[in-house]
Amino acid sequence: MSDYQSYMKGSPFEVKVISARFSLPDSTSIDTFLAHEGYQALAKAFQMGPEAVINEMKNSQLRGRGGAGFNTGLKWSFVPKQTDKPKYVVCNADESEPATCKDRPLMEYDPHQLIEGIIIAGYAIGAHQGYIYIRGEYRYLMEVLDRAIAEAYARGYLGKDIQGSGFDFELCTHTGAGAYECGEETALLNSLEGLRGYPRVKPPFPAVVGVYGCPTIVNNVETLCNAPHIVLKGAEWFAGLGTPKNGGTRLFCLSGHINRPGVYELPMGFPLRKMIEEVGGGIPRGKKLKSVIPGGSSCPLLTADEIDVPMDFDSLAKIGSMLGSGGVVMIDEDTCMVKVAQRIMKFYAHESCGWCIPCREGTAWLKRLLDRLHGGAGVTGDPDTALDVSYNILGKTLCPLGDAAAMPTISIVKKFRSEFDEHVRLGGCPYERKSAAVQAAR
């Protein structure tokens, strides 16, 4: 279990749509859900018909919350209508992007919201089977979901002829067993087929050839949780919550050097500075901010001068970064950015599945280089070599894990170049020396 008080601290700036039921007593039970608009969107969807649901989704400007930010309704519309093959809905609950912990409360505190979203997705594309692919570490959440799924079956919201609609839908959980790469949608599909999680060549996209060779949509937990609200309250309302082309709200996970770490539901486009200073309560011990990871460790980092930016997909793209998965990490002035780069690369080198050579070799090379640099054995050319290796990974791999390793590295080397040069000049980490000196003086 997660500690509710520690994750959901609350803020007057929050606009609660998908987190609205979190604080209700017994929030995971179907009775609580039904008493608070639960499964009403499903009934409405059955009246609207699949085509109208997809249009509503498109117009809502909901964009994928898993990281890439693709328009969800558009993705659903790519599923072929005329086909003999069965279709599938796969919910991506692999949540492994470092600094991201928002799907966890969504599943823990309101599992039926997700189930309703998945059924709506299934109805819209004409699928009769759904899988929730959940990371192995989230075992307790699998139990929460399994209980909720059993309740939904018992009350006729899953199974044959749901609520007399004539629509059948089966749903179950599926556990992973530790692999970041399995969050990538095509690797996830291989994993779901019992294979190693290696990526597939795209195209064909999963919407056409997905799991078992059949049309499949893969959507993130948070994305699917929004669907019932869009169906119930309309595309216009949803789009109006955010900024142009960025509908709705977003669960932002504030972590790192911040006074009030936690998950906050804020409108799309919420200003980053305000998020840090007013929602998160600023940087602890009166320290200055040095850098921000705006959306999980795969995103280019921002400097403290770049935080006057609305947190939506397009605004972050405009300044050369990404909104990613909603994991916002604050880094204070006492932090060594070479060490941050080193830790980030350690992750990607560990998680590279090894399928594409530029990623497998490049991340290992970068890790060795950054280890050496931070450890004091760096040479003058190292920062440039780090850039060179990164650019030779970028865009040269089947799945974006390679890019995810290269992009933060390039941004850190470029934006904090003087720290890299300082490591080379001193033959060690200036921050560790400083803290050693402080300790010696005590």
């Binding site: 520690s6 990371r135 570490e137 599926h174 067993a177 530790g178 692999a179 970041y180 087929e193 994991g327």
Partner: protein, 159 residues
């Protein structure tokens, strides 16, 4: 021998998929939960039930970091040192566990009680620094909290 509960769970899980081999990873994890590791017998049994060769099951085990063929400690301390945790002392927590237990990454204490593992982001970043003991989360850790936890776990093992 695999227990009857495990076997009936196997049947249950396999029935969820149009392709039996889809069940491999879940079955491996459930078997590991019961046995403590993945035994050769479990590999054979799973392979037989999902109609693949044992080597295909072994191939999967090598890929997924939570799966292991050797026994580990009763309590597996998995300490996150990824970026949100690192900024708030995740490495110090790992170091503290290591000193306290006298073991390093992926090692087990002589009494078989504890194993230690440095892991990647657990999805507990807002409660950093964080760790998992088996499947249970422990967050906002300090060295003192870790000491207390280790004592509690020892007491639990004695019962």
């Amino acid at each position: 021998m695999l227990s009857d509960t495990l076997i009936s769970k196997f049947d249950d899980v396999i029935a969820r998929y149009p392709l039996k081999r889809s069940a491999i990873v879940p079955l491996l994890l459930f078997a590991q939960d019961e046995i403590g590791h993945i035994s050769d017998e479990a590999i054979e049994e799973i392979a037989r039930r999902v109609e693949v060769l044992p080597i295909e099951v072994i191939e999967d085990i090598g890929y997924y970091s939570m799966l292991h063929r050797q026994p580990i400690g009763k309590f597996n301390l998995q300490v996150c040192t990824n970026v949100s945790c690192q900024l708030l002392g995740g490495e110090e927590i790992l170091e503290h566990c290591s000193k306290r237990l006298g073991i390093g990454h992926k090692q087990t204490t002589a009494d078989g009680l504890f194993s230690l593992e440095e892991v990647e982001c657990l999805g507990a970043c807002c409660g950093a620094p964080a760790m998992q003991v088996n499947y249970d989360f422990y967050e906002n850790l300090t060295p003192e909290r870790v000491d207390r936890l280790i004592e509690d776990l020892k007491a639990r093992a004695e019962k």
